[in-house]
Symmetry: C2
Subunit: 330 residues, 2 copies
C-alpha cells in the first residue's frame, strides 16, 4: 500500500493536528507533544489515561470523551511515547482523585508507562494501572501465548470509563479492570503485512493468495500462514480458538467486536459479522452486545480481528451501553 | 487487495444480513431483497429513499436513521437495484406524505430509480427525486465534466433528512435539494484501482509509485496519473480545483468532508485534513462544519476524496448539526 504523508519525521504532529482540528469541540491538543486531553478535564472523578504508538487510529485519541478516556498520550508510529511525556500527561490532568493508566501489553509500552507511574508516585500522586493482554495468539515455535494488548483494549476503555464517571474509586476501577481483562480474548488475521513508514522492518511476507492467522497490530507474525480462506472458514477458526480460552460456563453471554485493521472494506466486515453470528448462534452463545468497524487498527494492514468478552456481570453491559461522544466509538 | 467473501453470488445477502444484525435495534431488512428500512417507518413526514450498488459501505444503509434516510435499496456490487425492487421499497414505506428519491448521477442508477418513480406515479403515489452530481472531475480527452454522484451525496442525505423531519413538504424538499446540490463539489484521488469481485473489469492500472486524480467510486478512471505526491501537494491540487467550481462570493463559509475510499488508514486522512485546513485558512474560507472518515467508499480502493459544500443558508448548517443515530454518520 502507498503511504500518504508529508515528511515522515512529523507524522505524529500532522496527525494530531488533523484529528484535533476535526474534533476541536471535544479535544485539546498540547501542541508539540503527543498529549491530547478532553476540552475540560473533569475534577470529580478518577482520570483515565491510555496511549501508545500512532498507527492504530482511531485509538487512542478517538476514545477520549464522556464515559471513556480523559487523555491519550501518543508516540510516533508503532512507538510508545517517552516516560517524560506520559508523566507530563499525568501532571496536566491530575485532579486529586487518582489516575488510572490503561496499558497495552507490549514491552516498551509497559516500561514507559510504568516508569511514568513510578515518577508520579514519587511526587506523591495517587496513581495505578491495568495491563490489557487480550491477544490469545501463540508463538508458532514455542506455543507460548503472546498476550499482546490489542483490540479488546477499547472494551476496557469503555467499561472502566463509564465506571469512573459513575464515581468508582481508583482501587475499585483497578479491581474492575483485573476482573474484566481476563474475560476479553482477541485473535487477528492479516491479508497483507503492515508497512509502517521506516520504523519497523516488515516482519513477514505474504504471497498474493496467502493470509496469516494470529498476527499482531504492529506487523508481528502470527501462528499459521494459509492460502486465503473464505470469510466463513476464517470465522470458524477464530471463533473456535477464542471459545477454547474460556470455561464453558463463563461464555453464556458475550459482547463481540469485529475490528477492521484499517485496510479492509466495511463490506467484508459485514460479511464476516454475519458468519460469526451464525456460529455463535449454533453454539448457543448469547450475543448481548456487538460492534463492527475500525476501532484499533494496524497501519496499512488489510485484515481484521475478532474479540469476545464473556460477560460476568450485567453491569459490564450497562457500562458498554452508556453513550459517549468519543469519535472512535461508533 | 484480497477479497474476504464467501460465494460471490450472495455478497449482497451476506452483507445486508451482517449489517442489519449488527444494528438490529435500528434497521429492518426485508430478507432476500436489497431493501433495508428504519425499524418503524415514520407516518408523519416525507419518506426519503436512496440506494445504489453495494461496495460503498457504510453508504447507503448506514444513513438510515433519525434525520436522515428512511430506506435504502441496495443492488449487488457496483450495480444498482432493479426498478421492481425500488418500486417495492417505495410501496413498503409509502405513508401518503410523499416519497423523495435521492439518486447518484450514474446512467444505470438514473434509469432504474426513474423507472420506479414512473411506475409509482402510475399507481397514484406522490413521489419525486433529486439527482446528486457533485463530482467535478473531467474526462481527460474531451474535458467534459463527469458529474458523477459521489461522496457529497451524504450531505444531501443529512440536510434533506433533517428538513424532512422538520416537516417540509415533498415540493419544498425537492427545491431545497435543487438549491443545495450545485453547491456541493467533490474530487477524488486513488492510490490503487478498485478491484470489484468479478463485476466490472479493472478500468485502469497504476504502477507502484503512481496515483490518479479525479477517479470515480466504481474504479472509473480520472483526469491525470502522476507519481505519488505528498499529502500537502494532493491537498493543493484538490482544494484549487474545487475552489474554481464556485463564484468567490459563494465560498465564504463551507462544510468539508474528507472521505476515505475504504482502504486508506485514518492516520492518513488525519494528515490530509490538517493540510486541507491550512490551505482553506490561507484562502480565508471559513470552515463551519467538517467530517472525516469512510463515508462513501469504493470497494477495495486505497484513496480519498475531498468535498466542499458552500453554505448559502445557515439552515443548512443546522440540518448538518442535528444529531442522528444513523450508524454511518459519525
Amino acid at each position: 500500500m502507498k503511504q500518504l504523508i508529508n515528511s515522515s519525521g512529523n507524522i505524529r504532529q500532522h496527525l494530531l493536528a488533523g484529528l484535533t482540528y476535526t474534533y476541536n469541540d471535544k479535544l485539546n491538543w498540547h501542541a508539540q507533544t503527543g498529549i491530547v486531553t478532553k476540552k475540560i478535564i473533569p475534577n470529580d472523578k478518577v482520570v483515565l489515561i491510555s496511549g501508545g504508538g500512532c498507527g492504530h487510529e482511531p485509538a487512542h485519541v478517538g476514545y477520549i470523551g464522556e464515559n471513556m478516556l480523559d487523555c491519550a498520550v501518543m508516540g510516533t508510529i508503532f512507538e510508545p511515547p517517552a516516560s517524560s511525556e506520559i508523566l507530563q500527561a499525568i501532571e496536566k490532568t491530575y485532579n486529586g482523585h487518582g489516575t488510572l493508566l490503561i496499558i497495552k501489553n507490549f514491552e516498551k509500552d509497559l516500561a514507559r508507562f510504568l516508569e511514568a507511574e513510578r515518577l508520579a508516585k514519587a511526587k506523591g500522586m495517587l496513581i495505578s494501572h491495568v495491563v490489557v493482554d487480550d491477544d490469545c495468539s501463540i508463538e508458532s515455535g514455542t506455543f507460548k501465548k503472546r498476550r499482546r494488548g490489542v483490540a479488546g483494549t477499547i472494551f476496557v476503555h469503555k467499561i472502566l470509563g463509564a465506571a469512573a464517571s459513575e464515581g468508582k474509586t481508583l482501587d475499585e476501577l483497578q479491581l474492575l479492570g483485573e476482573n474484566l481483562i481476563p474475560m476479553i480474548k482477541t485473535l487477528g488475521v492479516a491479508f497483507s503485512p503492515a508497512s509502517p513508514i521506516g520504523v519497523i522492518p516488515q516482519q513477514y511476507e505474504l504471497a498474493e493468495d496467502e493470509m496469516y492467522f494470529g498476527i499482531g497490530i504492529h506487523g508481528e507474525p502470527g501462528y499459521r500462514i494459509e492460502t486465503m480462506q473464505s470469510s466463513e472458514r476464517i470465522a470458524i477458526e477464530l471463533v473456535n480458538k477464542l471459545k477454547q480460552q474460556y470455561d464453558r460456563n463463563e461464555l453464556e453471554k458475550a459482547a463481540i467486536l469485529v475490528n477492521g485493521l484499517g485496510g479492509i472494506p466495511l463490506l467484508e466486515l459485514g460479511i464476516f459479522m454475519n458468519d460469526v453470528q451464525q456460529l455463535l448462534d449454533i453454539e448457543d452463545i448469547g450475543i448481548s452486545y456487538k460492534r463492527m468497524g475500525n476501532f484499533l487498527t494496524a497501519y496499512n494492514t488489510d485484515g481484521l480481528s475478532l474479540t469476545l468478552l464473556a460477560i460476568q456481570d450485567e453491569k459490564w453491559l450497562d457500562y458498554l451501553n452508556i453513550p459517549t461522544d468519543a469519535f472512535g466509538w461508533k
